[in-house]
Symmetry: D2
Subunit: 346 residues, 4 copies
C-alpha cells in the first residue's frame, strides 16, 4: 500500500486527489495537509467525505511528512513547493507537484511570468514534466514530477501530433481556451462569486497568462523549433471542464484521412486520449469526472488551416487524475489504476 | 457474471444504469434497449461512452430479452413495463422496474393518479417495493421489484423513523421538495429547454403530483395509520439532486438527543444513509454522483414542529443506484457492490 | 428633480438602486456612497455603468449627505443605519432604509434575532414599514421608511389576503422559500463562490432566519392575533428571484372562486401584484428585472390546506424597486414612475 | 404612433422585440404573428407579459399585415421572409427582416451556405444591411432591411476599425465566438435541453457556420479586398450574451495609443458601442438586457498580433434591439428611442 500525503488538500485540486485516492486500490492517504484548517475534520470542510474520511487536517510540514509517506502531492500556490523541497526530502520520498514550480526549464522564464523568485532552481533539471502520454518512461524513474497545468495538458495533447509531425506551421498557432470555474480555485474572491460568474463569459489574462510559456516549451520540444504562440483563456459558468480550440496553418495540403491516421497512431494505445469520430466535436460534458481527454480536428480548405480541439475535466486529467497517473507510473502500478471512472452525464 | 438487459437505456436513468453497471464487478450489460435509437451505436447517443461501450441499441423486446439475460431493468414511461411483463417472462428473469407500474398496491389509486389502465394488476401483489433500507429481506427473494420513485425515496427515508416511532402527527406532514432537471427526462419539450429552466425556480404538479400516493402508502405502513399529506415538487436549475424539506408537528416535546438517537438507530448500519452532525443541513452537492442519502432534522420549539431534511442524487439513489442495490440484494451480492463512488465535488 | 444619495451603493441592492434611478424621470443620484471603494469610479466597480455613471464613490457620511440630498437610501449591513440616523438628519432629509433596523416594532425581538444592540430605538415607532400595497397612506407622510426584507415582501403579499380575511388558521402557516444568490450579497465568502452554489440546493437558517419575526409581525397585524410560523429559506443556483411556497389549513371549506375573488379584490388595483390565472404557478423567470410580484394559490381538498405561492425579483420588488416605489409615494410622484420595466425573459 | 407587426413573435428574438417595443414611446404592436400559437393569448406563451399584453397570436399573413401596419418585423426561419415579400407589400410597408434572407449580396453564396433556394433574389440588391453604425444613412431611406446576424454584429463591430484602416492583415483573421443558448432558438430539441447544455461547452459548426460568409462580406467591404477567415462559434451555458475573441496579425508595429485613438474615432459618437478602458476585457454580464456592444483590444508584441474583443446581448444588439434601432432610423426618430435600458447586473 502506497502511503500518500497531500499538502494543500482543501483546495479543489486537493479535494479531487482525495476523491480519486479513496477509490485507488493500492494507495491510502496518511496526511491531509491544510494550513487553513489545521485540526478541523476533513469532512467538515468537504461534507461529501462524511463517513468516508475521518482524519483531521494537519499542517503543511514537508520534513515530517517525508518520513511518514511514500509520495507527497503538493496542491499549493506557486512557489510553496520550491521553498519546501530539498535533497533530504527527495531522498526519502517522491514528490508530485501540482503547482507550476518545476514545469519550466528556464528559470528566468519562470520568474518573469510568475513574478516570484524560484527558491530551489537546482531541482528544475531533475524534475520530469509529468505529461504521461509523452514522457512516460522518464516519469517511471523520477523523484520529482512537475504535474502539468490544466490548460497545457489539454492544449498540448490536442496539438502535439501535428507539431511533432511537422504538419502545421508552428508560427501560426493560436489557442483559444475555455475553462470551468473550479480552475480559479477556492479562494474567497469577489470575481469568483456565483453572481459574478453565472450568466457571463469573459477572456482573462489576454497575452499574459502563465500557462503560455509552459505550452510553448513543450510544443518547442515536439516541433524541434522555438514556438511562440497566442493563448487566450476564458472563464465559463460551469464547475468543471476545459475546452481548447486551437488554430494553425497547414504547411501543405493534407486530407482528413492523413491527419486522422496520425492522431490514431499517437493515441490508439493511449487509454486516456480518445480521438473522436469524424465530425464529432469534443464537449466537456462527455469527460466530466473522468481522466479522459477527447480530441478531434477539422480541416478548413478555404483558409488552409486546421482547427484542433480538445476537451477534458480540468480537475482530473488537468490536475488530480494526471497526478495519480504519474504516481501509478512512478510506483510500477497499472497506469490506469484508480482512474477508470466512467464520465458522469448529465 | 450477471447478464443484464436495459429497456429504455437512452433516457437519463437508463444512461446512469449503464454508467454504474460498467463499474460493477459482477454484472455486464447484454442488451441496450432503446426504441428511439435502434441500430445506432450507444456511444453515438451518449459520447461519454465512446471507447467504453461498443454495442448498438436494440428494440425493447422483453420476450427475447428474458431468455438472454438474468435481470431486466425497465427505465421506461409509465405503463410500458406492466404491458410487457407476464408469467413466462417472470419465470425466466428478474425484473427491476424503474417506472411506477408496481409501486402502488391499490390499483385504483394507481389508475386514478396516473390516468392509465394497469395492464397486469395480477403482479402488483407480488411486486416488492424496492426501498432497500426498509424492505431488504423481501427484496432478496423477489422476482419483480418496483424501484421507488426519486422523490419518494428521499421523502420516505427522511421521515420514516419519525413516522415509525410515532414521534410526529402524521396528519400534519408537509413535504416541500426540490429537484434537478434530469428528473424531467430527456424528452424534447420546450419547458425543459436550457433557457426555460435556467435562472428560474417554480413549483409544479401542486396537489396533483403522482409521487404523492406512493409516499403516503409507505408512510402509512410505517405509522400504522392512513397518511394523507401535501407534497409539492419544485424544478431547480441544476442537473442532479433532490432536496426534501418536510414539516410535521411533534406529538410531544422531545429533545435533539432523543431524535438523534432514533435516526442513528435506524441508519447507523445503513451504508447509504448518512445522518449528519447537529446543525448541518443536507445539500445536494455533497451526494452528487453517489448512492448516499444525507438526512438531518431541526426541532422548532416555537412552533412545536420538526423539520426533516434529506438530500440525494435523483439519478443514483433516486433511480439507477437503488436499482443496482436491489439487483445486488436479489442476486446475493454485497449490497454495496458497484455503488461506492465517492460523491463528486464540485 | 429629487436628489438622492445612496449609502452602500456597491452591494447588489445598491447597484440595483442605481440601475433603477438612472431610468427614473424625476430623480438623480448625487452621492454614491461606498466605504470600500472611496474615490474609485463607480463604473470601475460595475462595468455595466461605463459611459452611464461618471461619478466616484464617496464615504458613507450621513451628516454631510443630509444637507446635499432630498432622500437617502441605506443599503447597508444591519445596525449601520440605526447608528447614523438622528433627529437633525431626519429633519432635513427622508430616509429609506433597506436594512432591517426599523422593520420590527419590538426592539427586544430585533435585538434577539439580530444579535446586536439597536442604536436608535427612539425612531422605531415613527418608522413606517414600507410595504406599499399595505401601508400606502402612511408611507406618503413618512420621514423614515423601513424597506421590507426580500423574503417578507414575497411571503406577506402571498399570504396577506388569506390572513386578513380569516380564511386560514394562522397557527398552521409554513413558509418554504427559495432565493437566488444575489440575496446573499457581494461579500467574498467561500460559501457564495460559483462552484459552491452551482449544482446545489440547500436549506439554511432553518428555524432561525431573521426574516421570521418580520413576517410574523406583519401577519399578526393582518390577522389580528399573534402569528408564530415556520419559515425555511433555501439557496438556489440562480442570480435573481424569490419563490415562496406557503401552506396553511383552511378554517372552513371554500371554493376556488371564493378565494380567487378575495385575491382579486385585494390586488386588482395593484399594478405590481399580478394574480395569475387558474392553475398557473408563479415562476421567477416571469418577473426578472421587474417590480412585479406574481401570486397564486391552490386548494387541496384532500388535506384541507391551501398552498399560497408568490414569485418576484429579490433585487427589485424585494429591495431596490420597492425602495423607489416608497420614494415615489413619499414625494407625491406617480407610484409606478421608473418601475415599469417589462420582465426580461429569457 | 408607428404601427408594428411581428411575424414570428413567439421565438426568443420575437419575444425580445415585444419587450422592447412595449417600452418604446412611438411604436405599438398591432400584430403578434405566430403560426404555432394562433388564437392563443400571447401572455399564455410568455407569462412575463401577463397584464401587459392582452392580444392573441395571429397567423403569419404578410399580405393582410402590410395593410394594417407601418413596419413588419420578420423573426422567422431562413427562407420565409424571402418567400413572402413582394413589390406590393414593399410598396405599402417597411420590412425589417431578422432572418438571413437579404444579408448576403451574392445569391449563390446564400444558397450554398444556407442550402435553400432564394425565393426573391430581385430584392437582394435593394435590401440594406442594417448595421446601423456602418450603414446609417442608407438605412434611413430603405424599404427593406436585412437585420444583421448576432455573431456578425459582434464580430464586425469588434474588427471593423482595424480592417477599414488597414491595420491588420485580413488574411490572418480568426474569430473565436461564444454564445448563450437563447441564440439556438426556442425549438424543442434534445441538444438544447437544460441537462445537455448545462455544465458543458462545445464548438459547433466548425468551418461551416452560416454566419461566416456574412462576416466575410462586410469585412471585405471595409478592407477593400476579399476576406476569407475562420469563424468558430461555441455554445455557453448561459441565457444571453455573445463574446467574440478575434485574432489577426498586425501589418506593422503599432502602439496601444495609436489603436485606441482609431477605435475612439470610429465609436466616440456611437451611443451603443463602448470602447473600454485599457486592460479591461469585455464581459457579457456588463451588457445584459441592453443594446450596448463593449469592445476592446490587446496587442501582443511577442507574436505581433492584435486580439480584438467584443461583448453584447445577442437578443438585443444582436437581434431585436438592432431591429428597433433600424426602425428608429427608418422612421426619422431618435436612434436611441426605446433602447436606453441600463444593463442589468447581476
Amino acid at each position: 500500500m502506497i502511503k500518500a500525503g497531500i499538502i494543500g488538500s482543501t483546495g479543489y485540486a486537493g479535494a479531487e486527489l482525495v476523491r480519486l485516492l479513496m477509490q485507488h486500490k493500492h494507495a491510502e492517504i496518511k496526511w491531509y495537509g491544510s494550513r487553513s484548517y489545521i485540526d478541523k475534520k476533513y469532512y467538515e470542510v468537504f461534507q461529501n467525505m462524511f463517513e468516508i474520511v475521518e482524519d483531521k487536517c494537519l499542517d503543511d510540514n514537508m520534513e515530517e511528512l517525508s518520513s511518514a509517506v511514500d509520495v507527497i502531492f503538493t496542491a499549493t500556490p506557486q512557489g510553496l513547493c520550491a521553498s519546501l523541497v530539498n535533497e533530504e526530502v527527495l531522498s526519502k520520498v517522491k514528490i508530485i507537484d501540482l503547482s507550476a514550480d518545476f514545469r519550466i526549464k528556464d528559470v528566468n522564464i519562470y520568474e518573469k511570468w510568475y513574478g516570484i523568485e524560484h527558491k530551489s532552481p537546482q531541482f528544475i533539471d531533475e524534475a520530469v514534466y509529468g505529461l504521461c502520454e509523452i514522457n512516460r518512461e522518464k516519469i517511471k524513474g523520477a523523484r520529482l514530477i512537475a504535474n502539468p497545468g490544466c490548460y497545457p495538458t489539454c492544449s498540448i495533447l490536442s496539438i502535439y501530433p501535428m507539431a511533432k509531425e511537422g504538419i502545421i506551421d508552428t508560427d501560426t498557432i493560436i489557442i483559444d481556451a475555455k475553462s470551468g470555474t473550479s480552475g480559479a480555485g477556492r479562494g474567497a474572491k469577489v470575481n469568483n462569486l456565483y453572481c459574478e460568474v453565472n450568466e457571463n463569459i469573459k477572456a482573462y489574462g489576454v497575452t499574459t497568462h502563465r500557462h503560455t510559456p509552459e505550452i510553448e516549451e513543450q510544443l518547442s520540444y515536439a516541433s524541434g523549433r522555438e514556438v511562440i504562440l497566442n493563448f487566450t483563456p476564458h472563464l465559463v459558468p460551469m464547475n468543471r471542464g476545459i475546452l481548447v480550440t486551437a488554430y494553425a496553418s497547414l504547411k501543405k495540403s493534407v486530407s482528413y484521412e492523413e491527419i486522422k491516421s496520425i492522431y490514431d497512431r499517437y493515441y490508439k494505445e493511449e487509454k486516456f486520449v480518445r480521438v473522436l469520430d469524424k465530425g464529432v466535436c469534443p464537449e466537456t460534458r462527455w469527460v466530466e469526472g473522468s481522466n479522459y481527454v477527447d480530441v478531434n480536428f477539422q480541416i478548413d480548405e478555404r483558409t488552409n488551416r486546421i482547427i484542433m480541439m480538445g476537451a477534458m475535466d480540468n480537475l482530473v486529467k488537468g490536475a488530480a487524475g494526471q497526478a495519480v497517473q504519474n504516481m501509478n507510473l512512478m510506483f510500477g502500478l497499472e497506469e490506469t489504476e484508480g482512474l477508470l471512472q466512467v464520465p458522469m452525464f448529465p
